[in-house]
Symmetry: C2
Subunit: 589 residues, 2 copies
Amino acid sequence: MVKALARFLPILDWGARYQRSTLISDLVAAVVVTIMLVPQSLAYATLAGLPPQMGLYASIAPLIVYAIFGTSRTMAIGPVAVVSLMTASAASRVATQGSPEYIAAALILALISGAMMLAMGLLRMGGLAKLLSNPVVNGFTIASSVIIAASQVGPLIGVKTSGQTLYAIAVSLTARLGDFNAWTASIGVASTAFLFWVRKGFKPVLMRLGLKSGTAAIVAKTGPVLAIVVSTLLVVGLGLSAKGVRTVGAIPIGLPPFTLPPHAGPVWLQMMLPALFISIIGFVSSISVAQALAARRRQRIDPNQELIGLGASNLAAALTGGFPITGGFARSVVNFDAGAETPAAGAFTAVGLAAAALVLTPLLYFLPVATLAATIVVAVLSLIDVPDMARVWRYSKRDFAAMAATIAVTVVAGVEAGLATGVGVSILFYLHRASKPHVAVVGQVPGTQQFRNADRHDVITAPEVVSLRIDESLTFANASWLEEMVPATLADRPEVRDVVLMCSAVNDIDASALESLGLLNAHLEAAGVTLHLSEVKGPVMDRLQRSSFTQALTGRVFASQYEAFRALAPAACDSRAMDLSENVFGEGI
Amino acid sequence: MVKALARFLPILDWGARYQRSTLISDLVAAVVVTIMLVPQSLAYATLAGLPPQMGLYASIAPLIVYAIFGTSRTMAIGPVAVVSLMTASAASRVATQGSPEYIAAALILALISGAMMLAMGLLRMGGLAKLLSNPVVNGFTIASSVIIAASQVGPLIGVKTSGQTLYAIAVSLTARLGDFNAWTASIGVASTAFLFWVRKGFKPVLMRLGLKSGTAAIVAKTGPVLAIVVSTLLVVGLGLSAKGVRTVGAIPIGLPPFTLPPHAGPVWLQMMLPALFISIIGFVSSISVAQALAARRRQRIDPNQELIGLGASNLAAALTGGFPITGGFARSVVNFDAGAETPAAGAFTAVGLAAAALVLTPLLYFLPVATLAATIVVAVLSLIDVPDMARVWRYSKRDFAAMAATIAVTVVAGVEAGLATGVGVSILFYLHRASKPHVAVVGQVPGTQQFRNADRHDVITAPEVVSLRIDESLTFANASWLEEMVPATLADRPEVRDVVLMCSAVNDIDASALESLGLLNAHLEAAGVTLHLSEVKGPVMDRLQRSSFTQALTGRVFASQYEAFRALAPAACDSRAMDLSENVFGEGI
């Protein structure tokens, strides 16, 4: 009973063995992640077109829920850049940014995608996430990052922009270029430069100041907070608000509100597909981070339980004024490096964020929006993995084509179209590959009952009998291939009287393939050729016998290919053959 | 040169050998098909929500073009019921029936789907039509036929209905039930009853009147024309027009006009997906008819050239005032049975239709719409293949589920949603199957270098070495399975030191699977297990070597599984083994 419960509530497992030393490690990690997550959560809420406090809200209840249901020991969930962009793209289709309808759409997105993940997890459909090949996911991440970076150029220099495609952003940027504000641009560019430097350059400086390597690495992660503190002080000290530098402004103080997305309406229908995409991208990117980190500590991740954890977290986000969230890459690595040992670190981070929501918000009044933009730009530019593109290009032109198509369509036509293209292209390539299975003309290995590829082995064949071994299940994807392939093989061999399809690798024959087999049988019959099957697997044979195919079949179904060859080509067959499953050397040797 | 041309212009092939006797056969068939096609083309244009003359126009130029480019000797193309319903469904989304915009949408649909088919044919993507499994196509046809039959109930009793789902049709029917017209209903019901009877009952009557079986069968096909003549005469004789019986009315006299779909606009974008669906359904249903008929005369159909032929025909339809067309089942069988030997029969049919457009149209003024509705009802009810549903149910529950989902969604939510569901479900099932490939723990067949499934054969294994034969290519569909499967196999075998993946059936490793192999390698390394590969095929190995995987691999890549086993488990390996490709009996025995 407890074991069954523990499967759905991993907290029962690790919670029972929780120790004092683990508590300290988790607390340290939580402090570091909190410092990192406060500016990120504000920035990503802005990126999603939502009020900044929704970023804080999205980082409280969901983290506690994930700590209960998630299987990753070290993943840090919350708002992430790509999902925030997808939220903005979907919500701005049904409402204008800043309106109550827009906020409602974000809550609905979190609710639907949470419910979808939960359902997929309970139905154990974690494997289906692989509808997206890695190159497609990486291409989508790259393209989204480019769009996000472009969308932050405006805020970085004091210009309000809109749009979720490169073109739309560029148009709105040039239209309002007159709003350029030198003070904003100075803060924006300086923050960006500092944040780029701090990622590599801060740690050596701290070490020269006497900090140990590990401590220095953790302190270096406070760089974004430093940028926020310094730029806020600059705004206050120099009175830059009056000089046109846009700041975050008033953020309501308090814990997350209880929110219920509005009643069902047409918006819910319109959010279905975007929510599905958010579920898939959220899950796929999260699970790959979780698995990579788990592998380093030899832990295991259960993809289905992970879907349940992320689904429950998104439901929690929808009910507490948040928006769609998932596991973040950089943040999880920091959590891991800072020593997090259990999901409790996530719960402690939630406490830190709650404290920030209660205490910190008044201090953020003068935080310049440009600094948040700089945070986003630096975060997403690290997601643009050019070496990976080169690797894929070298390794597989087909995968590269899927990746390139995803990038191009995402950048030009937006995230939903891009993702749909990626999925579509992957599946087309896959079916294309599956539509031409490997097939071998086989012959008898002399002195045995074995049959091997006649092109690669020195085997016995008979001119009037063609034996074809089909190395794949027969399904709708290759049914038409089957109808073509057999006659094509016989085209220049008028002497053939019998065709044997050796089905040792055929694990399934679906209704489409069955129909094609029937047509093939009729076609061969018309041409005076008899069709036989051999080595049909038990379950496949059971189903064939429930159809009328076995009656229509002109030839026989042989238990083994050897039996078929001996019956159809007795003169050619090497009948000294003995079964390989006996020791050919016998006992005496 | 001529040969290359002949590939794209099959007319050069059969045209060069055209004989007088063929001419006569083709002419006879053309007359029969013309008699059948005139009422059908009018009826299907009405079903598509278009003026009746567009049905005639769609049956002239496209037939001539198909005669030039098509590969089927006997297929009769023109408007068909299901595609007409799809046209109505798509066009009524952007315009109201009867408006110039509605007609423009139909032209655009023909143009886009023609261009799509042409492109798919030139890119040799005929095999991809198999995105649709047979049960999905059959389910879609059944559901469409139900919708079409329901949509004709209104016209049959004098009530105008609208809508493309069962619910919408039922609503509009009940709302206007007051328009019921007894005269119309009498004609409608009588025509329906007559047309049902004529299909089976007319031929025996004709034979009793002294006609030969073959001739009687052909004359029996004139049944619909008889219904049209009689009901038109009734309307004229009894003055039924004045009594509320709706008739076809004025049809412009003349040959098809030259039409150019309007300039690109948002409508074009909205027609893209419906046009794709029309292309696919049009092609799939046409090719299966063509192949079935070709098989009876031992001819071959080239699916890609068939796409070119249908594509060019649809372009012709778009340019001559028509709408999307494809090969019709019943009509092609009649053409075949009437003796058509070459595509010239189609061209002659076009001449017949042109004559009808020039001469016959005034006579159609008093043709009651109810008779056309009866023609449609009788035609589509024959497409509802209940025995096929039962066959699929018996044969494969999975295929039946796809079929049932397609039928349910089509009937409830319309043709596009239904077809999308069918494709989606098929692909999900397919990927689900592909995501769990067959894998076998293999061992050495004593005294040989062969390795077989340890569950099914008596083979030699070693406790510290696990050899897994993977019976499928490694792709994104099974990449996550691979990461799970190997550790799961090792879970209760702590003594394992080496894992060998035997790749004899792995024809491809895509970028996603490569990444999973890398993760698996790292995971096993962390657990103190070495990963090896064996029997990697040449092309796969070439690509692996272009990646960094072979450097990261903790173990080796063995040329053969035997070599791997001998190196990793020298104590267990039966090294008396000899190669199977030599005759194990030697020369002396």
